[in-house]
Amino acid sequence: MKEFVLIFRHNSKANVKPTPEQIKERMDWLGSIAAQNRLADKGKTLSISGAKTVKPGNVITDGPYTEIKEFITGFMIVKTETIEEAVELAKANPIFKIGGNIEVREVMVPYNNN
């Protein structure tokens, strides 16, 4: 079994509060993954307003990069045999209905010198 991080991105500008229906949809999706015993870590949702970016030279700006349109809104980790299965799980997420996207990244296993 390998682990894959799903990174959720969103392009809406403000902190739009999800409707109860949207919360339900997300929970059904997450529950479905957990019910298949494919959930490794339910991860976290990230705030957009409570955000700073630290740059070299002690430069600190508010929020994530304002020049890019997408924000990372959260992440979680699934466990599947292949990246295709992880992609399959991601496909059912309701984020696509509201213009978001999901990046799927395999978790690196430390190199074994033997």
């Binding site: 929970m27 059904d28 997450l30 529950g31 957990a34 019910a35 298949q36 959930l39 339910k42």
Partner: protein, 424 residues
């Protein structure tokens, strides 16, 4: 048998069940966990004496007080004999640890059987018995024997196991307990905090063993549930153990038990939820469940007991949106802790919210092909749209199932589907 004889025997049997464990707990707390057998011997002798005396003289006015007084005297005698032994006959047998442990109390062991002492002692005993050194199953067996006064036969009956197996399991568990050296006389706050999770889990499993057991002995199953409730109730009576989680667990037990009589019919068969006679639900227990559930939400933490109690609560209501709530609670529950049963129950709730056809896809994803409930669920979901597939799944379920009563239910379903096919 004369009427008088019968009544003293009945009273004795009843008292044995209730008082044996309490008295042992009080004595054991005084002696230390290493000497639990001595405590049990003294209590056994007390009951032996009661049997002899009551048979001839009849019941005393207050049988419980009589038992406490005799146990107290027997304990004093024991200490006296021990002192004689130690001072006059003392040889290589090492009782020093015991004597050193309670030097000032050899003559007056200070045993009392007030309600408070009994409650404190039993609480201490719960924490001593639920020692992670033993497997969860062994902990439950110990709890049933030491805390609930179950006989080995009764425990074997509840677990559908051989008497010998249970006996060996208990022996090993007792040896482990002695080794672990748990301080039972002064139950420390830190010990409570570090062990409360294990205690709650053991009580939860003990309850489930009674509630979901395959044993056809309805009385033993109910006893198991009631004892689990009694011990959990004890936890709510002490400020250190009266946590939100404890209250959630107790609420769960109350809700589940409220359906106990409706769930099992007179011949011991399981009655599926939708066919239960709601008039048999115990409203008093539902009320109690509500009370403890409200207590459980006085903080912000949500444990699996909170979620399960929430699910059980919605089952007691006839709210039209209840399945929405139940599905959401199952979502949270499965995210906290995966188990095939939770996954399958969630799929059932999913069917109730979104319909059987969408739920088939959701259920098939689980791929629990060796699980009978998986097949009986798919049988149920296919029943309206694809009788052949439903029958195949029901047959597979029957080949995997152990409980005779549940087999009967599925066979009935197959018959119904076949009949319907012939009509159409």
């Amino acid at each position: 048998m004369t009427e008088k004889n019968k009544s003293y025997k009945e009273v004795l049997h009843h008292l044995f069940r209730i008082e044996f464990a309490k008295m042992t707990a009080v004595l054991c707390r005084r002696f230390g966990l290493n000497y639990i057998e001595i405590a049990e011997d003294i209590v056994s002798e007390t009951f032996l004496k009661a049997m002899k005396v009551w048979r001839i003289k009849g019941l005393p006015e207050n049988p419980t007080a009589w038992l406490y007084a005799v146990a107290k005297n027997k304990t004093k005698d024991y200490f006296k004999r021990l002192t004689v032994f130690e001072t006059k006959i003392k040889d290589g047998i090492n009782h020093e640890q015991f004597l050193n442990a309670k030097p000032s109390e050899q003559d007056e062991p200070g045993i009392d059987f007030t309600q408070q002492t009994i409650a404190d002692s039993q609480l201490a005993m719960i924490f001593a018995v639920c020692d992670p050194i033993n497997s969860e199953e062994a902990q439950i067996c110990l709890a049933l024997q030491i805390l609930c006064g179950f006989s080995i036969e009764e425990i074997a009956e509840a677990f559908l196991a051989k008497k010998e197996t249970i006996k060996k399991r208990l022996q090993r568990a007792r040896i482990n307990l002695r080794k672990s050296n748990f301080q039972i006389d002064t139950l420390q706050k830190s010990a409570i905090q570090s062990r409360l999770d294990t205690v709650l889990r053991t009580l939860y499993l003990m309850f489930n063993e009674g509630y979901f057991s395959n044993s056809n002995n309805k009385l033993i199953r109910k006893d198991l549930c009631l004892e689990a409730i009694r011990l959990t109730l004890l936890l709510t009576e002490n400020p250190l153990t009266n946590t939100n989680e404890t209250n959630a667990l107790l609420a769960l037990m109350c809700f589940q038990s409220s359906r106990f009589d409706a769930r099992v019919n007179n011949v011991g068969d399981t009655v599926v939820f939708e066919q239960q006679n709601k008039n048999l639900w115990d409203n008093e227990l539902i009320e109690k469940g509500n009370y403890y559930l409200v207590n459980a939400f006085s903080g912000s933490e949500i444990s699996k007991y909170h979620l399960e109690a929430g699910i059980a609560y919605w089952h007691t209501t006839s709210d039209e949106n209840k399945w929405d709530h139940i599905l959401q609670l199952y979502n949270q529950l499965i995210i906290i802790e995966y188990s095939p049963v939770t996954a399958l129950n969630r799929a059932f709730a999913f069917a109730k919210v979104y319909g059987n056809v969408p739920a088939i896809k959701e259920a098939e994803k689980l791929n629990l092909v060796e699980n009978y409930y998986y097949h009986s669920l798919l049988g149920y979901l296919y029943a309206d749209t694809n009788a052949d597939k439903a029958i195949t799944h029901y047959k597979k379920a029957i080949s995997l199932i152990k409980s005779i009563s549940e087999k009967k239910i599925l066979l009935k379903e197959i018959e119904r589907l076949k009949k319907r096919k012939n009509i159409s």
